[in-house]
């Protein structure tokens, strides 16, 4: 009995020693803290961006500079205070030099403040507010999502010329929604647009009947919507219920595939800006098929949505930056390497560029028209592919400089 006990304890010690030696022998992993919604209004969007990040990491073989890369995920709950707390923990306790994620501009601002304080690099994904690279810009943050200036200018001209010039705004009542309406107003003179009205809707609203009754009576040609998430699934359904499409056209300044997918074909009649469409070309199609195969629990078929693409792009840019800098330990060197970086293999018509002075990532935007007849996931038709360089804010419009290269 005693000898068996000694053998058992010896085996345990051997296993522990082998584990300990392996840890010393291997390279220290590069930890990337992902602060992303796992629950709440943007839970689906969070899942998609994490899928994109994982896909990019897998494509790179899970390593950079010979060191394994590990994603440490924390739920932001789409709450700025919680996100900031979790980001701080990822840096202080888990030792992450890099942070990624958000899905909400308010959350991105909160994480950015932590990144600046701790001098770690943060990639704001899927939050589109302009403030992220103007008044809230930081040398320690890159804004991967297109800003509302890019989105509104990108699609707005077509909408004004083809759909109507009397616009009514329906927006989520936080910085992203405000940003969309603010840019539409700024562009109104250029497009010759008249503002008919605006309703700001609190996050978490499920019933839009009262708002849509006012929209119907407004006499607008176009309802300009800046809303997303589960709220938006309910809104899209109620747009059809209250027969808004028979009164006016509906244009989303930004639409997520995952929000529109659950709807019946006849309920999908909106025009929208998107950051990518899975059936845009053969490369996006193949990527979406791979994502679908590897993620059976994805919230939609062909899950290459805005969030997925941004997550993928953020990870790709970070890995390219680390490789170019030749280090993952010197955050300043990585930031310098990323400033001005160009990603050509981005699956799109126009290459992606990382602008140095405002840390805005410039990536193609698509204007889509929903096909109400489509029954499968190929539910959109791309009307226009927009080069982000032509619609992004100029230095005169956004006179800041957060570059650390010059």
């Amino acid at each position: 009995m005693k000898s068996r006990m000694i053998k058992f304890v010896t085996c345990i010690c051997m296993v522990l020693l082998v584990g300990a030696f392996s840890a010393f022998a291997g390279e220290k992993p590069i930890k990337i803290g992902i602060v992303s919604p796992v629950s709440g209004n943007y839970g689906d969007h969070g899942k998609l961006e994490r899928m994109g990040m994982t896909a990019a990491l897998k494509q790179a073989g899970g390593k950079i500079l010979g060191r394994p890369v590990v994603m440490v995920v924390a739920d932001s709950e789409t709450n700025p205070d919680i996100a900031a707390r979790r980001a701080r923990r990822l840096v202080e306790v888990d030792g992450c030099n890099f942070l990624m994620g958000s899905v909400s501009s308010s959350v991105a601002s909160a994480i950015s403040a932590v990144a600046a304080e701790k001098k770690v690099l943060y990639f704001a994904t899927n939050g589109n507010s302009d403030s992220l690279n103007s008044d809230k810009a930081s040398p320690y943050m890159f804004h991967v999502a297109p800003s509302m200036a890019m989105l509104v200018r990108g699609g707005g001209k077509y909408v004004a010329n083809n759909l109507g010039k009397k616009w009514f705004y329906l927006t989520h009542d936080y910085s992203w929604g405000h940003s969309g309406t603010a840019w539409a107003r700024k562009s109104a003179a250029e497009f010759g647009v008249e503002e008919i009205g605006e309703i700001k809707v609190p996050l978490g609203t499920r019933d839009f009947s009262s708002q849509l009754l006012q929209v119907r009576e407004s006499g607008a040609d176009v309802l300009v919507v800046t809303m997303a998430g589960f709220d938006n699934v309910a809104l899209l359904k109620q747009l059809a219920e209250y027969q808004i499409y028979s009164k006016m056209k509906v244009w989303y300044t930004l639409m997520e595939f995952v929000d529109m997918w659950p709807l019946k074909p006849e309920q999908r009649q909106a025009y929208a800006n998107v950051e990518v469409y899975w059936n845009e070309n053969s490369k996006t199609r193949a990527f979406a098929e791979m994502l679908e195969k590897n993620n059976p629990d994805a919230p939609c078929p062909m899950p290459l949505d805005n969030g997925t693409y941004e997550g993928w792009l953020a990870m790709k840019i970070l890995l390219a930056g680390i490789e170019k800098a030749g280090t993952a330990d010197d955050v300043t060197a990585v930031i310098k390497a990323i400033e001005g970086l160009e990603i050509k293999d981005n699956m799109r018509k126009y290459p992606t560029k990382v602008r140095a002075w405002d840390h805005q990532v410039l990536t193609q935007i698509d204007l889509i028209k929903a096909n109400p007849e489509a029954t499968g996931p190929d539910m959109w038709e791309v009307i226009d592919e927009i080069d982000a360089n032509k619609v992004a804010r100029t230095r005169e419009e956004n006179p800041i400089n957060v570059s650390i290269s010059n």
């Binding site: 839970g43 609190p202 978490g204 019933d207 009262s210 009754l213 119907r216 589960f230 309910a234 027969q243």
Partner: protein, 288 residues
Amino acid sequence: MFLVASLIVNGIILGLIYATIALGFSLVLGVSGVLNFAHGILFALGAYMYWVLKDLMGFWPAMVGAALIVGVIGIIVERVLVRRIYGEDPLFGLVITMGFAMAVEQVLHMIFGAAAKTINPPEFAQGVLFIGDMIIPYYRLFVAGFCTVILGGTWLALNNTSFGAIVRAGMYDSEMVSALGHDLPMLRTIVFTIGTMIAAISGVLASSIWSLKPGMGAAFLMPSFLVVLIGGLGSIRGTILGGLIIGLTTSLMSLVIPRFVDIMPYVIMAVVVYFWPRGLLGKQNILE
């Protein structure tokens, strides 16, 4: 003018829906003194059961089926979890039912996935009614009518049957009801099951308006709580009044100050509780 009239009609419809969602919550709280925070997830379960059954058997049988399935789940929940905390601090009820709700939400997530699902209204209630410029979807009219039947039926049953008299007595003094020889545990099981089935039916009715998601119940739990606090604990009329106040406030506020739509029900609740701690139509109850 048409717009204001439209918003008032819309507010009444919304109010009846909110009151029906809150009815089960109010009954359970009134009779058992349990803050049933599983009410929201039972609402969501009703919606999901309906989603599963509707294509197999059509609207009415699917609604009955969903209510029965969720009712059976309600009996199990009451027997296994809730029964243990009768007479204890209401906080225990809150914690245990909230824990159950979180677990079931994850199960729904695993079975039905994260993606939102939408359901079209039944064929007989599709389309819209126009009165001048006023537009009312037939389905919302149908839901308002159905909610009125549930609310009115429950009120009549409580006030005109011997069982209703026992339930009402239980709301004021459960020990006395027990001392008079009535089976109090059975009474509580029956009321919990009825509350559960009403939650499920509310979920079925709401699913064609607001879409489905595993976490959908949480969005309607707090309005239910507010309806009960405003209307008054243990009062069906209070629940209807509370629902109408929230519905009309939500609807009309969207015209005046849209961004205050969410805050106003809480402001009203604070004012009501300050001046009428038992709610507008509340009376002495089991929690006192």
